[in-house]
C-alpha cells in the first residue's frame, strides 16, 4: 500500500483525528487550542460539534478542512492521511467548507461566487445547484448585496459544487434570524448522503435537529 492509497476500501471513516494537538502563539504566549483530540466521523453521519466560544471548535474544523496543520497527531480525510495530500487540490475536491456569515466575495455575483469553487465551472451544474438552494432570483446579485441568509445558502451551495465527501460548517447559523437558521439547517440536512459526512461546529442548539451525534469540546478537549 502506497502512502496515497486509501487506508481502507470502502471508506469506513470520512474523517479521523487521532491525538491532534494545536497551539497558537499569541502576544508572545503559546496557547494550546486543541489538546490530544481524537474523533471519527463515518460517511453519512451528521455530527454537531458544540462548545463555548474559544473552546477550539473552529481550530478543529480548520485542521479537518486541511487549512491548518496540527502540531502533533494524525488527520485522515476520506481515507487519506492529510500529510500525503496536496492541500489546495484536496480542499477543492474532497472537502466543502462553509464559513461563518457565508464569506462571499463581495464583488462577485452569487452565481460566480458558487462557480469559483470549480477550476472550470460547468454552468449547468452551478445553475441547478442554485435552483436547488432557491437562489435563482439572487444569482445575478453581488455578494455584498444579498442578505445573511442568502449569503449562507450561497456558501453552502459553493461547498457542494465539487460534490465533497466531507462538509465542514463553521457556525453556519451565526447572525441569522430564526427563519433563515431553519432554512440553512434544512439545506445542510438535505446535503446528507450515504457517502458524505457533515460536521457542524456551532453553539446553536437548533443544530441538534439535524445531527446524528453530538460532540462537546471544551478548552481544547472533547468531553
Amino acid at each position: 500500500m502506497t502512502a496515497t492509497t486509501r487506508l481502507s476500501q470502502p471508506v469506513q471513516v470520512s474523517l479521523s483525528l487521532r491525538g491532534v494537538t494545536k497551539s497558537y502563539l499569541s502576544r508572545g504566549r503559546r496557547t494550546r487550542v486543541l489538546d490530544a483530540v481524537s474523533l471519527e466521523v463515518a460517511p453519512g453521519e451528521v455530527v454537531w460539534l458544540r462548545g463555548p466560544s474559544g473552546s477550539g471548535k473552529s481550530s478543529l474544523l480548520r485542521i479537518a478542512g486541511l487549512l491548518s496543520t496540527p502540531d502533533s497527531g494524525m488527520v485522515v480525510v476520506d481515507g487519506l492521511p492529510a500529510t500525503t495530500m496536496r492541500g489546495a487540490a484536496a480542499r477543492r475536491d474532497g472537502v466543502g467548507m462553509v464559513f461563518q456569515n457565508g464569506n462571499l466575495l463581495p464583488d462577485l455575483s452569487v452565481r460566480d461566487n458558487v462557480a469559483i469553487a470549480a477550476r472550470r465551472p460547468v454552468w449547468g451544474v452551478v445553475d441547478r445547484l442554485l435552483a436547488d438552494f432557491g437562489l435563482e432570483e439572487v444569482a445575478a446579485r453581488l455578494g455584498k448585496e444579498v442578505s445573511g441568509g442568502q449569503a449562507q445558502r450561497a456558501a453552502l451551495c459553493r461547498a457542494m459544487l465539487n460534490d465533497p465527501r466531507l462538509v465542514l460548517a463553521d457556525e453556519p447559523t451565526a447572525g441569522l434570524d430564526p427563519a433563515n437558521r431553519t432554512v440553512v439547517l434544512d439545506e445542510l440536512s438535505r446535503a446528507r448522503r450515504p457517502d458524505r459526512a457533515i460536521v457542524i461546529a456551532s453553539h446553536d442548539d437548533e443544530v441538534v435537529r439535524v445531527a446524528d451525534r453530538v460532540l462537546t469540546i471544551d478548552r481544547g478537549r472533547l468531553v
Binding site: 473552529s58 480548520r62 478542512g65 487549512l67 491548518s68 489546495a88 487540490a89 484536496a90 480542499r91 477543492r92 475536491d93 467548507m97 464559513f99 461563518q100 456569515n101 464569506n103 466575495l105 463581495p106 464583488d107 462577485l108 455575483s109 460566480d112 462557480a115 469559483i116 469553487a117 470549480a118 477550476r119 472550470r120 465551472p121 459553493r158 461547498a159 465539487n162 463553521d170 457556525e171
Partner: protein
C-alpha cells in the same frame, strides 16, 4: 471561462475605480510618447524630403545685411563670387510683389489670395511640386509656378492655364500704377512648410524677375540685392568657400547648417521621447507594484477564502497578474488610441501653423515600433511590477486570513 478569468472579470471594475488616477497618468504618458514620436517622425519625413528635393547641401546663403557683412551684393560682386574656385554658380535672390489680377482666378471670389511673392527658382532650392513639371532647361520668361495653398483655398486648378499677374510699376519717385503681365502656370508648389520665401511664394525665371524688378522702378542704378545663393561643386568644399566669402566681407550661412540645426531639434525631440519611454517603464513597474500590493492588501481575506476553497498558490498569483495585466492592457490601449489621435492632431496643427523651426508633415502617425512599445511594454512592465504582490498573495495563509473573521 476559468475561475481565474471569472475573478479577474469581476474584480476589474473595483480595481479600475481604485487605481484610476495612476492608470490615467500612464495612459497620458503613452499618449505623450506616441504624440512626440509622431511629430518627430513627421518632421524627419519632411526633413528627408527637404534634403532630397532641394539637394541644398552644397548651397551657401550670402547676405549683405547679416552679421559681419561689410560688402554690398550687386551683379559685379556676384560675378566675382561665381569665379571663385569650387563655385559653380551665384544667384541673386529677391522677391517681387505679385497678385492675381482677375478674381475669377481666385479660389474664393470673396477672399483675396494676397501677395504671391515672385521668387527666383534657384537650382537646388526648387520647391516640391504637387502638380506639373519644371522644364529641364528651367522656367521660360512667361512661365510661373504658383503656390498650392493661399488664403481662400487652393490654386491647383490654375495648372496649365494663363494667369494675369499684377504688380506695381513706379512711374516717378513715390508714385506707382498697376501693371500686368501674363504667365502660363507650369507647376503647383507645396507651400505647407514656409521657408525664407514666405508663406505664399510663386516662382519665376531669373529673366522674368529681372524684367519685373526693372519695370517696377525699384532699380534706379545697378541692381542691389540683400541675399544671394552660391552653389559649390560638392558639400565637402562648402566650409572652405564659406570661409573665403566671409573673409571677403559677406555674411554667410550654409543651408546644410540650417538643416543640421533642424536635425538637432528632431534629435532632441527623439531623446525626450526615449527619456519618456524610460520614465514610462519605471512608472509602470511602480504602478504594477502598487496595484498588485493594494489588491493583496484589500483582498487578503478573500485570498484566504479562495485558498480555503481549493485555489492553489499558482492560481491565486495568476488572479493577481490577471487583474493587473487586464488593467495594464486597457490602459495601454487607451494610451495608444489617445497617442494616435494626439499625433495626428499635433502634426496637423503644427503643419498648419507653418513653423519654420518645426516643419512637419500633417497627419503624422507614430512609428509602428513606438506603438508596439506603448501597447506591449506598458502592460508588461505593469505585470512585472506586480510580481512581488503576486508572490505575497500566493503565500497568504488561509488559516491566518480566515482566523481574523471568526
Amino acid at each position: 471561462m476559468s475561475d481565474v478569468a471569472l475573478l479577474t472579470r469581476a474584480t476589474l471594475r473595483p480595481g479600475l475605480r481604485s487605481h484610476r488616477p495612476l492608470l490615467i497618468t500612464i495612459a497620458l504618458c503613452v499618449a505623450a510618447i506616441l504624440t512626440l514620436n509622431g511629430v518627430v517622425g513627421a518632421g524627419v519625413s519632411r526633413y528627408a524630403r527637404s534634403v532630397q528635393y532641394r539637394s541644398a547641401l552644397n548651397l551657401i546663403e550670402l547676405s549683405s545685411q547679416g552679421q559681419g557683412a561689410t560688402r554690398e551684393l550687386d551683379d559685379a560682386a556676384l560675378r566675382r563670387v561665381a569665379g571663385l574656385s569650387g563655385v559653380t554658380g551665384a544667384y541673386a535672390w529677391f522677391q517681387v510683389d505679385l497678385a492675381l489680377s482677375h478674381d475669377a482666378d481666385w479660389p474664393d471670389p470673396h477672399v483675396n489670395p494676397g501677395a504671391l511673392w515672385g521668387t527666383p527658382l534657384i537650382p537646388g532650392l526648387s520647391p516640391q511640386l504637387l502638380a506639373g513639371n519644371l522644364p529641364a532647361a528651367g522656367l521660360a520668361a512667361d512661365e510661373i509656378v504658383l503656390p498650392s495653398s493661399v488664403p481662400g483655398g487652393r490654386l491647383d486648378r490654375l495648372l496649365g492655364k494663363s494667369v494675369t499677374m499684377e504688380f506695381t510699376k513706379v512711374v516717378r519717385p513715390g508714385v506707382g500704377e498697376p501693371a500686368k503681365r501674363v504667365f502660363r502656370v507650369v507647376g503647383i508648389a507645396d507651400n505647407t512648410t514656409p521657408g525664407q520665401a514666405g508663406p505664399t511664394p510663386s516662382y519665376l525665371s531669373e529673366q522674368a524677375l529681372e524684367d519685373l524688378y526693372a519695370s517696377s522702378g525699384a532699380a534706379t542704378g545697378a541692381p542691389m540685392f540683400t541675399t544671394a545663393y552660391v552653389r559649390v561643386v560638392d558639400p565637402e568644399r562648402v566650409p572652405r568657400v564659406q570661409r573665403e566669402l566671409s573673409e571677403q566681407g559677406f555674411a554667410v550661412r550654409s543651408v546644410a547648417e540650417q538643416l543640421r540645426s533642424l536635425g538637432g531639434l528632431f534629435a532632441a525631440l527623439r531623446w525626450v521621447s526615449l527619456a519618456l519611454v524610460a520614465v514610462l517603464m519605471v512608472f509602470s513597474l511602480l504602478v504594477g507594484g502598487s496595484v498588485g500590493a493594494s489588491w493583496v492588501q484589500q483582498r487578503r481575506r478573500e485570498i484566504g477564502l479562495l485558498s480555503a476553497i481549493g485555489w492553489s498558490r499558482r492560481r491565486i498569483a495568476a488572479a493577481v497578474f490577471g487583474q493587473v495585466a487586464v488593467l495594464g492592457a486597457g490602459t495601454a490601449v487607451v494610451g495608444v488610441l489617445a497617442g494616435l489621435a494626439g499625433s495626428t492632431l499635433a502634426t496637423t496643427l503644427i503643419a498648419g501653423r507653418r513653423l519654420t523651426l518645426l516643419p512637419v508633415d500633417p497627419w503624422g502617425l507614430p512609428s509602428p515600433a513606438a506603438v508596439l512599445v506603448g501597447a506591449f511594454l506598458t502592460p508588461l512592465c505593469i505585470v512585472l511590477g506586480a510580481v512581488r504582490a503576486g508572490w505575497r498573495a500566493s503565500r497568504v495563509d488561509p488559516d491566518d486570513a480566515l482566523r481574523d473573521l471568526t
